[in-house]
Symmetry: C2
Subunit: 512 residues, 2 copies
Amino acid sequence: MGKQKQAKTAISPTRAEDYPEWYQQVIRASDLAERSQVRGCMVIKPWGYSLWENIVRELDDMFKSTGVKNAYFPLFIPLGFMEKEAEHVEGFAKECAVVTHHRLEKGPEGGLVPAGPLTEPLVVRPTSETIIGDSFSRWVTSYRDLPILINQWCNIVRWEMRTRMFLRTSEFLWQEGHSAHATEEEALERTRLMLDVYADLAEKYLAIPVLRGLKTPAERFPGAVETMCIEAMMQDRKALQAGTSHFLGQNFARASGIRYQDANEQEQYAWTVSWGFSTRSIGGVIMTHGDDDGLILPPRIAPAHVVLMPIIRKDDDRPSVLEYTNRLARSLQDRFYHQRRIAVEVDDRDIGGARGWDWIKKGIPLRVEIGTRDIAAKSIFLGRRDQSHKERISLQTARFEAGIADLLDEIQQNLFDRALAYRQQHTAVINSRSAFDAYFTPDNLEQPEIHGGFAVSGWCGSSRCEEAIKEKLGVTIRCLPFEGQLEADPAEGRCVYCEKPANTHAVFAKAY
Amino acid sequence: MGKQKQAKTAISPTRAEDYPEWYQQVIRASDLAERSQVRGCMVIKPWGYSLWENIVRELDDMFKSTGVKNAYFPLFIPLGFMEKEAEHVEGFAKECAVVTHHRLEKGPEGGLVPAGPLTEPLVVRPTSETIIGDSFSRWVTSYRDLPILINQWCNIVRWEMRTRMFLRTSEFLWQEGHSAHATEEEALERTRLMLDVYADLAEKYLAIPVLRGLKTPAERFPGAVETMCIEAMMQDRKALQAGTSHFLGQNFARASGIRYQDANEQEQYAWTVSWGFSTRSIGGVIMTHGDDDGLILPPRIAPAHVVLMPIIRKDDDRPSVLEYTNRLARSLQDRFYHQRRIAVEVDDRDIGGARGWDWIKKGIPLRVEIGTRDIAAKSIFLGRRDQSHKERISLQTARFEAGIADLLDEIQQNLFDRALAYRQQHTAVINSRSAFDAYFTPDNLEQPEIHGGFAVSGWCGSSRCEEAIKEKLGVTIRCLPFEGQLEADPAEGRCVYCEKPANTHAVFAKAY
């Protein structure tokens, strides 16, 4: 791509020219979010927040349909709670924001300084297993109290050293589900059920195909017995982990004292599970679907679906063109908003071609222009965001209205199919170390960012091989895929690194 | 009330015996929330959180219908931002949680200690005028960018010394709306519009009658030019401020540099407004409607509306009674959930009388019992939470189904009417200092918590009289009511404290 002749694109640089910078520019051009003056924290602007609201609504419905109830737990976690689970605190200690004071006072130099030191510092939650575990320890006494299925929508703080909007920010928004069960089997089933909910959300709503699998011990959530994940491929062929579901065994139940009396009146520790999905997924939407003209939004989570743009060439035409446009907007809204959540925008700004480009960059699925000639012909002029901005067509207004829901479904499917084809194209079964090395080594210095893909290879199961690959190539095991996740399961053969017999195959990739 | 003979009630103590403790016990018995181990922070349990979700949904729709869009801003505010508006920082300095470190490390005694000191401490947002103002300063350049109407749903931290669940907690949930306007007039209109939204939410959804008015300068939001409020009366006759809308003039625009070019290309400061409504309102619902048997929920925000309780006296009856019950549940759900959001619970626990009492304490509007005799007679046995638990009636099932929506509307209206009657009964026009003192002085030592009410009295406008009244009686000016808010506007006459000519009348009360 880097060598073809430069086309004029709305986003500069293009993906091929500088993928990371393209990503930042798409966010800027689509008005999704902006950096704040607070280190590593972003401001999610209305267009971006509306995406999140739509994701929240769908996910929340899915959770509730499996019996999960929402609740809310404190933002602050006493240091002593964090320390109860050794691996857990070890995993988060390096990125905890710590509240140490509860007042501000005039300092010696006149400015305000922290005052009122706390006897025990409080950690701003990086995740809530320990504080929710404390509540669960009170809520559970008998097997009759189980399972407890709780979710919370909230903000999370992890003090990241290198941040990137949506993908890795010091503060982000997410949901964290937490459940406690009487048996290991039931807890494992819940772990998988919630992973499947995430996969459904990703595939059916975000139009992002995902692989489901297990993390290796090195990549697990701190304190978990197993971490299940969904992994997606971005257009630079890197993997993005888009949601995780953790089987925590009895580790956190022991740490928090979540005990119950079983049917035989024996005291047992509960089995707990946690699962999380965050605003990071919006980064995945941008990088899966966006093109060199900006964002492309899957209709099922788009804040708006169609923008109507009246074309007014003479002042005399204004009233009739605006009236026609507004009538169409009302008609679409009345027919489709409640039934299909199709949201309509009217943009009558008089800013020339910049208007259409604004909406292209924002990724709205459909753009409609309406001028006097269109009105005379009872037609509209339609552009689809999943097609080139040049491929616009004239369409009878009645047909457009009758077909808009199907058209949006078609775009949704098209985005998913494209992303799946891209992943398939850049997934290779690799059985030799030399081929593996070559696959992950940039061969084109003009575009070092885009190379490789997913390698499906044998792995001996040793963390030494895993670490050596990470060290040498910056490649990690994204998951040990569940059965049926790969188009063709490769023979397990030999470890792609040490060439000893492999006991499993793994999906390797560079990752966000 | 304290002298009448003790009835058996589900909540002990009763309101008359110990109102503050009754409040805590209602929260406990209804399973709305619990104290956490984090000082001043609560856990909002599913029944309580669902109330908040319902409030959020209604309020969010109301905001959006006035053009407001949601966004999200950082949790942390750099100290330097807070300091920009002098009154503002002064108002919040005493209750700020301050983040000073971004890591935890093994300390000399082996435990973890804060490490990685920040160069500039961060304040956990007690409100977001300053951090949102920073974004607005970038978003606004021309009058064409105005108005900007933004809302955020989030958590807030104010380090309160004395906390009470829902009413005053160190962390709470709220929405904060922030807008910027080109003119003072438009900003003032928005301030009032959002207050009216709050009043609608309170009266039509929470069934809480409110007085709308202005705060005195002493009671204003720190940094505001005017604060408008809605004030409700609780059953101990104290006032609860349930929502506020602040006209900020150009104070925060100056502090944050929110400037725009007007149509004449002159640079101007914008006029800003902010408005907030929090989980505190749930405290208002509890204290307005609850009785000595527990919570009473207004149907329009209740997490569930009707509980069906199968009565199984013999094991043989179980299948048929359960089938009838589940069929009724499905029928109600199918007919009314989407159209009217009527949510149905089935409770088939075999725990005797405790089952019905659980639901009474939780405040569900309707309780339905179904036994074999009811089934034979095609009827159900119905209890309404707005009536005594003894007043249950038998009703044809078909009539119950056909009338359930109206019945819930009737309960909603009944709760509002009762609360309004209570407020009217305990609102007095008081024109003399001695009558005023007597009104606010407990005359019955057995129940010192419940006395007084709202006093509508003249006020000279001096903060000295206001302070003296507060000092002496613990009574504050709740608001200077807008025209038409009081049933009968009193003559303005003389200041109830200094007896000089009054320039206004005010509503005085003890308050939360």
